[in-house]
């Protein structure tokens, strides 16, 4: 009886999942069709529906970026190309179109530090896996050393190396996450955005930020965000004029 109930529940879940996926495919195809017909706003609406439903993929963001580009919204085009590249760092079309959109918008980019540039040869996820594997190898080595009477020098060396690799991986993750392309990265989507010295529209301007410019959010106060800006500047910008890169 229980087995039958489990089978029914499993079947129901599988059907529901396939239904959602099928619906997403239909929505995606429809948005593509709208784009092909030149109905870019309708295409944007379709892609945004997918995004809101959590159906995130590099191609969806790439296509959404294209649609925004066609409507002249270079800020959101850059944002979505960058999102596509976050999900798939080696997405050639997104890389190419991102550069075009940045050129069109004259967007400013955050310059990574020297250490960050070196660390960018691997992604955060790769560092995560490396650190985890090294950690467990080190744990096994330690257990072997503790419970063995004759302690092998090779085991001890392996333990130290693995601990160093694990620690290096964790430091790399921390550095990349707080760096210019880290979790606080946002893209300016508004037009005529000025970074200001204080949280007031009348405050002195620090830097004019074209659409698509990158900023790093440092803190939030009400409707304003305090951000690190290109050219090593800092300033306040209205929160409505910038969107975080990562959707959570």
């Amino acid at each position: 009886m229980k087995a039958r109930a489990f089978q029914i529940a499993f079947l129901f879940c599988a059907l529901a999942t396939s239904s959602v996926l099928g619906q997403a495919d239909v929505e995606f195809a429809k948005a593509n069709q709208e784009y092909a017909q030149g109905h870019f706003k309708e295409a944007i609406s379709g892609y945004e529906t997918l995004v809101r439903a959590g159906q995130w993929s590099a191609n969806v963001f790439y296509d959404l970026g294209n649609a925004y580009f066609r409507t002249g919204d270079f800020g959101r085009a850059v944002l979505n190309y960058e999102r596509a590249l976050v999900l798939e760092p080696h997405h050639p079309e997104a890389t190419a179109n991102l550069q075009i959109a940045r050129d069109e918008a004259h967007a400013l980019e955050l310059q990574p530090g020297r250490l960050e540039r070196y660390l960018e040869f691997a992604s955060v996820n790769q560092y995560t896996v490396t650190a985890a594997v090294a950690f467990w190898i080190a744990a096994f080595c330690l257990a072997a050393l503790v419970f063995t009477r004759r302690r092998s020098r090779a085991t001890l060396t392996l333990l130290l190396v693995m601990l160093l690799i694990s620690a290096g991986g964790i430091v790399s993750i921390w550095q990349l996450e707080r760096g210019s392309k880290g979790s606080a990265l946002a893209v300016v989507t508004g037009k005529d955005v000025q970074a200001r010295l204080a949280t007031a529209d009348t405050a002195n301007s620090v830097l004019a930020l074209p659409p698509g410019s990158e900023v790093k959010i440092l803190s939030t106060r009400g409707d304003w965000i305090y951000a690190a800006l290109p050219n090593n500047l800092r300033g306040w910008i209205p929160a409505k004029n910038a969107e975080r890169m990562r959707l959570l």
């Binding site: 997403a24 179109n97 995560t128 996450e177 990562r246 959570l248």
Partner: protein, 621 residues
């Protein structure tokens, strides 16, 4: 008799002294016989003697304001003589210059009428003083109050200015500290045709003017004329609350002084000021006002440079660029610093003389003022330029201002700053493909530094395939699946540790067993050497030693000593045939003694046999 004489003598002395004390007299003095108009002197009439005295109710002299300020009494006992005196204080305020005579005043004391001496007061004119009480500081200084209580003055250092020129203005307000002023409305410059900046209090000092201390509060601001013409700046008005004494007990019969703001004659003459606890004062609101100042405003001369934005003053400009080595399209921040003195609100970003080959972003600015009112300071502009082509220097920036001292326009140009613009990173012009067409390779980056990205670029095609599963922006280490996966190596580690612990325990048990066997073998060898056992016991122990040694020597370990026979022992120790035979005999004799039961009793083992057995056993190694 003697005591009666003494008492009589004392009484006589007291009577005499009392007689002297009963003779009242009166004196009158002025604290200063030479004063200027507006300065007060103190008149004291001192009546010495018993009884009440009645001072003159009114001293009326033309040109002088005299009124009572208080009374003090003194009692003295000196060499058995008691003296009492009453001092009546008056304040004398000269209203005009000249020689004044204070005639003898009649004082009734002790039932007698006494007359004060005649007093002379020379009053000089207040030379160099403006029509008010405030010592003059210049043409702008004007008296406001009844001479000595409070004043306000407006100081404008320039008589002539240009339209838009910032003119610093200073406002000084002085208060007699005894009136304990409380400003309820800050000073305000009234007038039309100019704008004034926010008033800033720059300090408070104590100054002595005409011998009288004042608390002087200084305010600073700046004004700028909005149009040409002749204007009156001011007057400055303010309101303050000051403490004045309440109505006095002494009768007043004369008229009010024309200089009395509070209808109290001279408030300084009130005893409240000499003893604030004697009588409570009351707060009154007074208005303070200065005289206006004339200012002539001239228009700016024509033919202003194109880069002139209305800045008037005296400025200097410096320029810097960062970074100095970039790629085509990269931003370069050009920082222009304009410092000096003038109307910084009209100091705009310098203009670019030649923008060709550059993309210029709107500049940002920040101002750091060096004084209270922002006339002098430094204004910094950050302008981001992006080179569209190879360039050797950043664009030349121009800034112009009008110098009112030189009465001409001054144009400043930035020095050319050398930069290095490296190779081209412009994207290729990739034609848009039709949706659904097969995706070509990624757009290649071609072009050199000399090829500006002037052509419009187009984006690549749409991608129509979509993965079956959604992807996540969350880093791997934040996902539950990652931490769940860590259970696998964790459980493996637990199993590994458990296995290791078990192995260790097993090893420990074997070690204990070996130790017990070694101990048993040693004990048995000790007994065998003592030669005290019966043959049955001796052979049993001997065979047991062999078994134990065999168990200890076996490589495989874990052999039960009870299971060892002669062949096993011989094989274990790899004995030769003689020793093997001896070992077999030892086990046979042990069994024989153990199971036959034939040799119970007192049979002993010969020493030869004992040596042979011991020798065999000791050779088992």
């Amino acid at each position: 008799m003697g005591r009666a004489f003494l008492i009589g003598t004392v009484a006589a002395i007291l009577a005499v002294s009392s007689t002297f004390a009963d003779s009242p007299n009166v004196t009158a003095v002025l604290s200063n016989s030479e004063v200027a108009v507006g300065e007060t002197v103190e008149l004291q009439i001192k009546v010495t003697g018993p009884g009440d005295a009645r001072p003159p109710e009114e001293i009326s002299i033309d040109g002088l304001e005299i009124h009572a300020t208080g009374t003090s009494r003194q009692f003295e006992i000196h060499n058995f003589t008691t003296n009492s005196s009453v001092t009546y204080n008056y304040t004398v305020l000269p209203l005009q210059a000249g020689r004044f005579t204070i005639p003898p005043q009649t004082v009734r004391a002790g039932g007698k009428l006494l007359k004060t001496p005649e007093l002379i007061l020379n009053v000089a004119d207040s030379a160099g003083r403006s029509s008010g009480a405030r010592p003059s500081r210049g043409a702008q200084s004007q008296p406001v109050s009844a001479r000595d209580l409070l004043f306000a003055e407006l100081i404008v250092p320039k008589k002539v200015a240009y339209v838009g020129e910032i003119v610093p203005v200073q406002i000084r307000m002085g208060f007699d500290p005894r009136i304990r002023p409380r400003l309820i409305e800050p000073p305000e410059i009234t007038g039309q045709g100019f704008t004034a900046q926010k008033l800033q209090q720059s300090g408070q000092t104590t100054e002595t003017l005409n011998g009288r201390p004042y608390d002087v509060v200084t305010y600073k601001t700046a004004i700028a004329a909005a149009r040409a013409g002749k204007f009156e700046i001011g007057p400055v008005t303010a309101k303050a609350q000051v403490i004045v004494p309440r109505a006095r007990s002494a009768p007043r019969s004369r008229g009010r002084s024309p200089f009395d703001l509070f209808d109290l004659d001279d408030p300084f003459s009130d005893p409240f000021f000499s003893n604030p606890f004697a009588k409570m004062g009351e707060r009154r609101e007074v208005e303070i006002k200065s005289e206006p100042v004339a200012l002539e405003v001239k228009p700016l001369p024509p033919n202003a440079p194109p880069s002139f934005s209305g800045a008037i003053g005296n400025f200097a400009m410096t320029t810097d660029a960062k970074p100095k080595s970039v790629q085509v399209g990269d931003p370069i921040t050009v920082t222009t610093t304009i410092s000096g003195r003038g109307n910084f609100d009209r100091v705009n970003a310098p203009v670019v003389e030649d923008e060709r080959g550059w993309h210029k972003y709107p500049p940002s600015s920040k101002f750091k003022q060096d004084d209270e009112v922002g006339i002098s300071g430094t204004k910094t502009f950050d302008t981001v330029f992006s080179p569209n082509e190879k360039k050797q220097t950043v664009p030349v920036l121009a800034f112009s201002y009008f110098d009112p001292a030189k009465e001409q326009y001054v144009a400043l140009r930035s020095e050319p700053i050398a930069i290095s613009v490296q190779g081209g990173v412009a994207a290729a012009n990739v034609p848009s493909a039709q949706p659904g067409s097969p995706p070509p390779a990624a757009a290649s980056r071609v072009g050199s530094a000399t090829q500006p990205t002037t052509k419009p670029q187009d984006i690549l095609y749409q991608l129509t395939d979509r993965p079956a599963t959604a992807e996540s922006f969350a880093p791997l280490y934040t996902r539950p699946i990652f931490w769940t996966a860590q259970l696998v190596p964790f459980l493996a580690l637990i199993a590994f540790v458990g296995w290791k612990i078990r192995q260790t325990r097993i090893g420990n048990r074997e070690a204990r067993r070996i130790a017990a066997l070694q101990h048993e073998a040693a004990e048995l060898m000790h007994k065998l050497r003592r030669n005290a056992a019966s043959p049955r016991e001796y052979y049993a122990e001997a065979s047991r030693v062999v078994r134990v040694k065999t168990a200890l020597a076996s490589r495989s370990g874990g052999i039960d000593p009870n299971a060892v026979d002669a062949e096993t022992a011989a094989d274990t120790f790899k004995l030769n045939s003689d020793s093997r035979d001896q070992l077999r005999r030892l086990f046979e004799q042990s069994d024989e003694w153990q199971y036959s039961g034939a040799h119970n009793g007192g049979t002993t083992i010969s020493p030869e046999n004992r040596r042979e057995v011991l020798g065999l056993i000791e050779n088992l190694k």
